[in-house]
Symmetry: C2
Subunit: 243 residues, 2 copies
DNA sequence: GTTGGTCAAGTGGTCTGACCACTTCGCCGC
DNA sequence: GCGGCGAAGTGGTCAGACCACTTGACCAAC
């Protein structure tokens, strides 16, 4: 068994997670008020600064509305939460949320091709060589986890070449949600990252500076696994509907 | 002159913004270490908890790496920052960053049609009526700011109907960046939100449950303004290249 | 009755100073 | 050279205090 890094959870982290769970699971609905910082500190058995830090972090994520002198109220996270909340939503209570996972797959299928097209438009001279090297590495290994890492690097290069901050940040957010579960997802993604050929075609299109071909090639890289996983998740989603 | 709400900036807010600016402007490069919390508190003339709160918020945004007992180092925000950083990047030092604005436009043009297609697939019975009501309101006013608000509501409904959390959160993040500048952008967006007819076509396609028509209609709503603004920004970007 | 003022209670905002837990790194003895 | 020790410096946490603000009840003046 591979040794795991020791997880060190600070007190504010713990508080953050607990309050977040209350909010996300709907225990405290939007518009309701949270207990006061002092009260929370007392109940949780921690100091007020610790509570405060956690609440401020939640406020920054637009999950709380903290008003000086007034009460702290819960906001509707569905309406206000940004993409950075994705990791917390994707894996809740230790298991993957099927609806969220489906949504992630849909999003990357929608966005990936557009990013590839932009990369084809704007990619510099060296891009082709970098991508090729990356695909070579992907093709050279048999390990699905390693393949995923290389696929991620591949897309990282593509996103860089697209030269669009918003896509860059979207990619960062998605990766932040994806990476922690990378090992667990290895079997699910094996189908996709095993197709080195598809990545080669995409690389060629991008290198050639042909946006529309690149868009289609990217679709061909992403669609098969997306489709099969989405239907698998749809089945799972039925099961999960115990909420 | 319309009365403005009083802005009340807390000490940690102030610290957060200052440190963020240092990081985003590259004054402190990725990998470099920040002064210690005590030192920062002293230099900024505030208490350590205030500094701490700001730094923790930055760490949550993946902009800093805070290690117990060790130094606090700056991470490469280009590689790690999530979409929630968008507002801070879009308007820096009080003025709009052209490259970021261009990127926002590109992203919404890439994503909007896909969301519309999903909405057409999944939209319920009442969706059409809601969208129509929204477009009616949009068509009924002459004020460009109001029109934008209605357009935003329109897309809000579409995103809801698409029933995909990731797109929902992307939309939330984009809106959070967009709304503060809504008034300033009114002239730029007037062209788009003035085309009530295009929104009607899109509404019809979504109501009809026809994904591909909806995709094309959404493209037709978004593309004209996107194209003209992108070229305007390209010219501006030349000017801004004094960095 | 409505308006506006006052005041107390409760909340978040901030500070101080202390101590704990951890990392770093140089010194020391082997 | 190498392992271990320990001081110094860093972030983590706490307690308690006080300030600033909102809220709502109460009351006076119109």
């Amino acid at each position: 068994m591979p040794l795991q890094p020791v997880v060190r959870r600070s007190v504010p982290d713990e508080v953050f997670d607990q309050v977040l769970a209350e909010v996300v699971d709907g225990e405290i609905g939007a518009g309701e008020t949270l207990p006061s910082e002092r009260r929370l500190a007392e109940v949780l058995g921690v100091s007020r600064p610790a509570v405060r830090e956690a609440l401020q972090r939640m406020a920054q994520t637009r999950l709380l509305d903290v008003r000086h002198g007034g009460a702290t109220t819960v906001r509707d996270f569905r309406r206000y939460a940004g993409l950075d909340l994705l990791p917390q939503l994707l894996v809740r209570k230790g298991s993957l949320d099927a609806a969220v996972a489906r949504s992630v797959l849909e999003a990357r299928l929608a966005i990936g091709p557009s990013v590839a097209a932009l990369a084809a438009e704007r990619g510099g001279e060296t891009l082709g060589a970098l991508l090729t090297a990356c695909v070579d590495e992907l093709a050279a290994t048999d390990d699905d986890v390693e393949r995923q890492v290389h696929a991620l690097t591949f897309w990282d290069l593509v996103v860089d070449a697209a030269d669009s901050v918003v896509f860059r940040m979207m990619f960062n957010s998605l990766r932040a949600a994806y990476e922690p579960a990378l090992e667990a997802l290895a079997p699910a993604m094996a189908e996709e990252v095993g197709q080195a050929g598809a990545y080669r075609v995409l690389t060629a299109a991008i290198s050639a500076g042909d946006p529309e071909t690149a868009r289609a090639a990217a679709d061909r890289v992403l669609r098969p696994a997306t489709d099969s996983l989405v239907s698998a998740l749809a089945a799972l989603e039925q099961t999960q509907e115990q909420r």
